[in-house]
Structure formats: structure tokens, C-alpha cells
């Protein structure tokens, strides 16, 4: 069925889709930092992270894209929403913007962007000599449990320590403030 295929040129389609995903990402990022309403920020973050997941797809790893959605959007952002809901910032007044502070932040951000762009554009990126083409999840699972099992274990420990730490900090401060 060449007409449909010709109508939707895969290359062009992919390019358009890529542009849309990147646009979502940036829109989400800007919504995450610019408005003062915290819920807008969280929703912007969710949008941005979804876009990032799309970019991961373009970068070839469906697994990581789904993981991104699962972990970041599904867990982290939800916990942030919970934190917002359970605290009282919504009822607090929206503070006025400090122009010097905004200016300073903008300046530093632009400086860092300039440096990064300079370095990125000037470095001659050399791909490695031998590149394998194995993108399967099976291989990743095998590597996680054999070659990179230290990473796996350390991650578990980190998560455990984080949970314990979170409980401790909240518990201690509750004791102090009561």
C-alpha cells in the first residue's frame, strides 16, 4: 500500500514526532519553573518527564522510557503531589518575585548554558571502535545480575537507608516540635 506509506513519509513523520516530543518537554520544563502556583509546577514536571520518556524512546531504549514513566512520573511526582496536598502551601500567599534574584538566576543559567554549548560544540565526539547492537531487555537483566550486580545491591541499600532516614528525620523533628 504505497500511497499511505508515501503520504506518511516515515522520515518526516519521525522528525515531526520528535519535534512534538521535544516541544512538550520544554513546555513542561518551563511550566515547572515559571508559574508561582505549585500545582502548575508539578503538572508541568509531569508533562516534562513524559516528554523525556519520549526522547528516551527516540534514543532507542523502550525499557528506560517505560521505567521513566513508572518511577519518575508514577512515584516521584505523585509523592510530591502528596506532599503538596498534605501540607498547607496552597493557603499561603504567593510571594512577590525578587527582580535581582531572578536576574541573577537568569544570568547564571545563561552563563552555564553558554559554557555547556561551547564545550559540546567544540568537542570532537568519537564513537567507540567496536559497537555492539544488543538492545534487548534480557541482556540488561543478565548484566544487572552478573556484571553490574554491585550497582543493583548498592541501589537497594541506598533505598533502604533513604527510607530509614526519612522516617528518622520526620520522627525526630516531630518530637522536637511538639
Amino acid at each position: 500500500m504505497t500511497p499511505i506509506q508515501n503520504f506518511f513519509d516515515p522520515e518526516l513523520l519521525a522528525q515531526t514526532a520528535f519535534t512534538v516530543v521535544v516541544a512538550f518537554t520544554f513546555a513542561g520544563a518551563l511550566i515547572a519553573v515559571l508559574p508561582r502556583n505549585i500545582l502548575y509546577n508539578v503538572l508541568g514536571l509531569i508533562l516534562c518527564l513524559t516528554g523525556v520518556a519520549g526522547i528516551f524512546l527516540f534514543l532507542g531504549s523502550a525499557f528506560i522510557a517505560l521505567m521513566e514513566l513508572l518511577i519518575y512520573v508514577g512515584a516521584i511526582c505523585i509523592s510530591i503531589v502528596f506532599a503538596i496536598m498534605l501540607s498547607r502551601p496552597l493557603h499561603l500567599s504567593l510571594p512577590k518575585r525578587h527582580l535581582p534574584k531572578v536576574g541573577g538566576a537568569l544570568g547564571v543559567a545563561l552563563l552555564v548554558f553558554g559554557v555547556l554549548v561551547t564545550i559540546i560544540s567544540r568537542t570532537p565526539w568519537q564513537p567507540a571502535a567496536e559497537r555492539s547492537n544488543d538492545w534487548s531487555v534480557t541482556t540488561m537483566g543478565v548484566y544487572l545480575l552478573t556484571r553490574y550486580d554491585l550497582v543493583f545491591e548498592v541501589m537497594s541499600v541506598v533505598l533502604l537507608v533513604a527510607i530509614l532516614g526519612a522516617i528518622l528525620i520526620t520522627g525526630q523533628s516531630r518530637k522536637r516540635s511538639s
Binding site: Q15, T25, F26, A29, L30, A32, V33, I38, V42, L45, C48, V52, I55, F56, F58, L59, G60, S61, I64, M67, I71, Y72, I76, S79, I80, A83, I84, S87, P95, V102, A105, L106, V108, A109, L110, V112, F113, V117, I120, S121, W125, A128, E130, S132, D134, L144, V151, M155, V158, L159, A162, G165, A166, I169, T170, Q172, S173, R174, R176, S177
Partner: protein, 102 residues
Amino acid sequence: MNSLTTYLFIAAALFIIGIFGLLQRRSLIGMLIAIELMLNAASLNFMAFNRFLAPDPIIGQVYTLFIMGFAAAETAIALSIIIALFRRIHSINIEQARDLRG
């Protein structure tokens, strides 16, 4: 879409948006959101290198998983710190925390 530098620029842009947010937001949760942006930008960087430069495409993905795990842990800790600070200064405005003022 097919060149490394495109993805690097995107990651850089996300990173500096994150910096902008970190330096400018008053509420602690806003800063946390900005930090998440920065982490994601770093992940993007790794995935881009993984796709275009790495000899073995698994390593970048593992690293990205790593980062995600750390982000989760860090969010938990950060939220508990915010709660603790809130209980002390009764506000999540970071400009209220000025005890180290010279």
C-alpha cells in the same frame, strides 16, 4: 534527531532551566521540582552518549536506572527535610531560613 549534539543541546537546555528554577524559586518544593529537572537532563545526557558513542548499549541504560533510583531516594529524603524545616520555621519559603546570615 540523528546527531549526538541535538540531544546534548536539549539536555543542556533542560539542565539550565532546572538551574534557573533552583536559584529562583522561593518554595522548597519548587526547588525540589527543579532538581528533578536537572537529574533528568543528566539522564538524557547519558542516554545520548549511550546511543551514539558507547561500545556497549547496556551501560548507559543501567546508569540511567541508577540515576532514577537515586532520584527516588533523594526525593524521599528531601521531602522529609522539608517537613522538618517546616516544623522549625513554619514556612516553606527558603528565604525565611537565614540563621547563617553574616
